[in-house]
Symmetry: C2
Subunit: 345 residues, 2 copies
């Protein structure tokens, strides 16, 4: 059985689109925000922050999706790396996770589910994160993910909203997991042929040990690139920070075959919805169709997108490159103009 | 559109059975447990406990399921009450929640999803719990739930495992939501006709304000009754505590029509799997078939099951009855014998 053949959409491409989500959330009257909540979902941050003591805040996040790969073990590992990433993107350290699991209990070999969990546990072990519980539902399609809790010092939180004029923008992983996994789902490639993308999706977004305390404090804002694509998450950070991001599309790191897969039309619904989501506030007018497609490509377990102090940018990039070979400086932060994001060819 | 007609199984009856779950988990090699983790899923507790400071621990839990009612608002409210219950069952106070949401984005009126979220927000507001984020997946069937975080003093945690010989056992809500909602799903009753069960499912398991500090400290162990039925959760608590629970089946609180619905055969798969799950360690030999069925009935947002100091039991019951009219003393804790649970007729 090939897991990707059991679902309509895989991975972060299965997210409900940002436009639909906005429509729904605009109608809901939410409970009051407790004073302990320092960051909630209002600015599209990757995780919530809840202060516990003056020195300790909890980072709370939740992510789950349908199979993006055929191998249950790798699917579990990618889903877990993706869920943990939201804690890292806030500057936190994961501590505990609860599993979110659905599968057709009567029709699916339990060994498949075991392998998904084992892949998850391998990634959790690497992140020193304990699996402390979860909930499983009997459902026609396999879905897996985690609610992850971590800790962060309240003064060292990274959010979407503090990019500063003059900052340089760094992306740590290549773009193109959406097209590659679409090709896999259509049986146009094998899992072995997209190993570059799989290695990237299982690479933990942990960078705190790479950068010392000084360099860490030069990171002004951060997010991770997932289902809404580079274009979607970049726009969210620019808007949350009240700045305009100028992006050099030519600097954007891609996997070796991303353009080939996109040329062949290995697209998902998210390529279209991410385009719609960014049409109003991002200016793509100087880009080629291919450049635009790479920016709309929905990433699963994509890289970190960092806004860093200009004077430290090249040193930070150099350190990041020792682990993330595809890391690049991809743009700059400017004062706010009519667009949140300006793309240069 | 009637929500219950869009899914095969509803509510906590859609849980993967405890037997299947045990088979899967037995095969998985888990990450090491961090020293901060004071309670994990090993003893089937309702939530995990992670210590943050000597005075503060976090309670972490996660629950989600398919529609158990036709009204989106009520479904959201019941799912939320059910998720919050796990925090209360550990002696904690909820603080923040993350939403788990799946729905068919192309086919479902967004107003349905809005109503589910609004029902959730009403329950969260009542619990002083903030909604701080979440994740949504485009999926053929609606599912909703929450990952909830709360706080508890590390010395005031209620677990499954500390029932003491001589304790009396109290159940706070009536049994029978499984049969009633099965009847609804089969269109044998309307939502209005099961209002007693719906009121119960939306009643928060908050009891800390009812019992003073003294009475709270007389609660030695606690859990909430959900998908594995009274029989399943009672057995889990007896085994975790290393005791035998003697239960008076005749004292068990039921909804007015629970027996009628069960007699008519409004059963779910969980009635069978809960029977299998408890066949080895619980002795039902003196009970009628009807009594057994009530014990296997899967509860959604069921009551708290408390093991309390014998001398305070009647005072605790009296206080509980001011809010939970169906609360009853249903049994006693004995030294361990060959069965974890002995049912008396």
């Amino acid at each position: 059985m090939r897991l990707t053949q059991t679902v309509q959409k895989g991975g972060c491409a299965a997210k409900v689109s940002a436009i639909e989500l906005r429509k729904i959330l605009a109608q809901v009257k939410f409970p009051p925000l407790r004073s302990e909540v320092k960051v909630d979902g209002a600015l599209f941050d990757d995780a919530a922050i809840v202060q516990v003591t003056p020195e300790i805040a909890m980072v709370q996040t939740l992510d789950f999706f349908t199979p993006i790969l055929d191998s249950p073990f790798l699917f579990g590992k990618v889903a877990t790396t993706n869920a943990l990433s939201d804690v890292y993107a806030m500057g936190g350290k994961p501590q505990t996770a609860l599993a979110i699991l659905t599968f057709p209990a009567a029709d699916m070999d339990l060994g498949v589910v075991t392998d998904v969990l084992q892949g998850a546990c391998e990634a959790l072990t690497g992140a020193h994160c304990s699996l402390v519980g979860g909930h499983s539902v009997d459902d026609p399609t396999l879905k897996f993910g985690l609610s992850v809790s971590g800790i962060v010092h309240p003064e060292k939180i990274w959010t979407n909203s503090k990019a500063q004029v003059g900052d340089r923008l760094i992306l740590t992983k290549a773009l193109g997991t959406g097209a590659a996994t679409a090709a896999l789902k259509r049986s146009e490639v094998t899992e072995a042929e997209i190993s570059e993308e799989i290695v990237s999706m299982t690479q933990m977004n942990q960078i705190q040990d790479l950068l010392g305390a000084d360099l860490l404090s030069s990171v002004h804002a951060a997010t991770d690139i997932t289902g809404f694509g580079f274009a979607g998450h970049c726009q969210q950070m620019a808007k949350a920070s009240g700045k305009t991001f100028q992006i050099q599309a030519a600097s954007m790191p891609l996997f070796e075959k991303t353009k080939i897969y996109l040329e062949k039309g290995f697209l998902t619904k998210a390529h279209r919805t991410n385009k719609e989501y960014t049409a109003e506030f991002s200016n793509f007018s100087r880009l080629s169709e291919m450049q635009k497609l790479t920016l709309f490509d929905p990433q699963t377990s994509g890289g970190l997108f960092l806004s860093v102090k200009e004077s430290e940018a090249s040193q930070i990039l150099q350190k990041l490159k020792t682990r993330f070979q595809k890391a690049q400086i991809v743009g700059d932060v400017m004062s706010q103009t009519s667009f949140a994001v300006e793309y240069l060819p």
